[in-house]
């Protein structure tokens, strides 16, 4: 904080040119990001009001709100919204709940803790297409998967998870990727908790449960908020995992909003309809983003 004040004071005294050269150094990045964020946005909005199909040139012109109307009255769209909500909420509950517990667990001293931690956070670094195919084939394949073998070993009949429970299974795969993210962030936050504070509570005779609720959880609240909001942004547009496991099916059983827009755009070439879906996705993401930006802003020391 003070370092920055000195810096700005110094420059204000030193040279009027400082402001100009600062702006000059900032300009390229701002310009690039401005173009990147405004042009596609405006185009999406524009297309969403047009009749525009890549394979049907006879279809063109202003469509009014028809694309929106068509989308909103499509049961597939409602199903995809529901699936999006299931995916976001389910993975958030698993990753934040589990992540908090695991952060506390891996904050304890035990033999080989360092290695165990590395193992737990690893799935976060695995690319989505690999994660999804590992689970689909090596783990959950009804004949050759390890989980199916384990089920047979205890006398159960293996289940074709992705056929029988497509949305639930996709959710579990995505949770496997994002739980480690939550652990990574929350463990870092737990470790910044003052050891003296923990000891003082211990001396006061606070039990483990009381310590968790009165010391650890309040300390973690900000990190938890950050995890929830960053995950929400990513989870709203999960795509690759669905594409390589179920391709949105059976039917639309595991189609989320992102996959629906993709299939409208690049499988059915309906630019107008896909763009209307895109606008809706942007609106939903912005609602979540508003909270994130506000939460980060509160801790921004400028």
């Amino acid at each position: 904080m003070s370092a920055v004040t000195t810096a700005s004071q110094h420059h204000r005294k030193a040279a009027i040119g400082a402001g100009a050269s600062g702006a000059l150094m900032l300009a390229p990045a701002v310009f690039v990001l401005l173009v990147w964020s405004v042009v596609p946005l405006v185009l999406t909005l524009w297309y969403s009001f047009q009749n525009y199909n890549l394979v049907d040139p006879t279809l063109h012109g202003f469509a009014g709100v028809n694309n929106y109307w068509y989308l909103l009255s499509d049961p597939d769209f409602l199903q995809s919204l529901l699936n999006t909500a299931i995916l976001v909420i389910g993975v958030l509950v698993i990753s934040v709940g589990g992540g908090t517990l695991l952060a506390v667990l891996y904050d304890q001293e035990f033999v080989g803790r360092g290695v165990a931690r590395v193992l737990v956070i690893s799935p976060f670094f695995v690319m989505p297409t690999v994660s999804a195919l590992l689970w689909k084939n090596l783990m959950l394949h009804p004949i050759y998967g390890v989980y199916s073998w384990m089920m047979r070993a205890v006398g159960l009949t293996p289940i074709d998870w992705l056929q029988r429970f497509p949305m639930l299974t996709v959710m579990m795969i995505v949770a496997w990727e994002w739980l480690p993210f939550a652990v990574l962030i929350l463990l870092t936050a737990v470790q910044s908790l003052d050891a003296e504070q923990k000891e003082a509570a211990l001396l006061d005779g606070a039990g483990p449960v009381a310590r968790f609720f009165h010391i650890v959880l309040p300390h973690l609240s900000r990190a938890i908020a950050v995890v929830i909001m960053i995950e929400t942004i990513y989870l709203l547009t999960i795509f690759a995992e669905i594409m390589v496991t179920t391709a949105g099916g059976p039917g639309v059983a595991s189609t989320n909003l992102a996959y629906l827009i993709y299939s409208r755009a690049l499988l059915q070439f309906d630019v107008g309809g896909a763009s209307a879906g895109g606008v809706i996705a942007i609106v939903i993401a912005n609602i979540a983003a508003a909270f994130l930006v506000r939460a980060v802003a509160r801790h921004l020391e400028v």
Binding site: T188, I230, V244
Partner: protein
């Protein structure tokens, strides 16, 4: 008594900690193992934990005509996007950290908010722009998109690192007659090397693993590893050995990077909110 109970408790914690860790890591371990089993061994029932390792699956992956091309594509996209993003981000982060003005805070938050744009929301225009500019299915096109999406993160991460550099050191350089260019290249960059390295690493990891644009903007020419692996999804899906070998090759470098730099990555991933 009390000592015994404490030891019992720490044994339970160690046991739970290890069981959970092994369970979570198991799919990655199994992928690694399966990559050395060959196709027949990969689908043997019951699954084999002990076997004679073979490099057969790796040989077959290497022999696929496009494997090396895919790897070079991934490297090209990751390195290209990272270098260009840093060229834009370093001056911007410098200006905001050392020459802050009234609008600095607003600019930082605005940059953060551009990161919140869901990629699927702009899939249609980006796809059409790429097609019309002949950037569809090119390394340049994918690298550009990755650079745009990661720039808010690189600016932010660099900004938080630059903020930790004591201003008097930079001032001392200026007293010695260094101009702004020399101040940045001779004083700031050497001091900030670890921070810049972590930022570059995070950008590389994000580009390497990026799947959405890779799947939608590339096909046979510029497909990176994330898209190449997806080609194992349907008819070839049953070749567990080859899938595992290709996956291991795609994942191993990033896992190693992630293990080394987990601490520094947290800062970039949370926009400096958690350190």
């Amino acid at each position: 008594m009390a000592g015994q109970r404490a030891r019992g408790k720490s044994l339970v914690i160690a046991a739970v900690g290890w069981v959970v860790a092994i369970w979570i890591f198991f799919p990655i371990f199994w992928m690694f193992l399966t990559s050395f089993k060959g196709e027949a061994g990969a689908i043997a029932t019951p699954p084999r934990l002990f076997f004679v390792p073979t490099l057969e699956s790796y040989h077959e992956v290497f022999q696929r005509a496009n494997y090396w091309r895919v790897t070079f594509n991934t490297l090209g996209v990751s390195i290209g996007a990272t270098v260009v993003a840093l060229l834009f981000s370093i001056p911007a982060a410098y200006a905001m950290a050392f020459l802050p003005g009234k609008r600095t805070r607003g600019t930082l938050l605005w940059m953060l908010s551009t990161r919140m744009l869901p990629p699927v929301g702009v899939l249609v225009p980006i796809y059409l722009i790429a097609r019309n500019t002949h950037l569809l299915d090119t390394v340049t096109g994918l690298a550009l998109v990755d650079m745009f999406t990661n720039m808010p993160i690189t600016v932010w991460m660099l900004y938080t690192f630059f903020r930790e550099i004591p201003v008097p050191i930079l001032e001392a350089g200026r007293m010695d007659g260094a101009n702004r260019w020399q101040e940045i290249t001779r004083v700031l960059l050497p001091l900030a090397t670890p921070g810049i390295a972590s930022t570059a690493l995070l950008s590389m990891i994000l580009c390497w693993n990026e799947a959405f644009w890779s799947l939608n903007l590339t096909s046979s020419n510029a497909a990176p590893l994330a898209a190449f692996i997806a080609s194992f999804s349907s008819p070839e899906g049953l070749f567990f050995g080859k899938l595992s070998a290709a996956s291991t090759l795609a994942v191993a470098p990033i896992l190693a990077f992630g293990w080394i730099s987990q601490k520094q990555l947290v800062r970039g991933l949370t926009f400096g909110a958690v350190k």
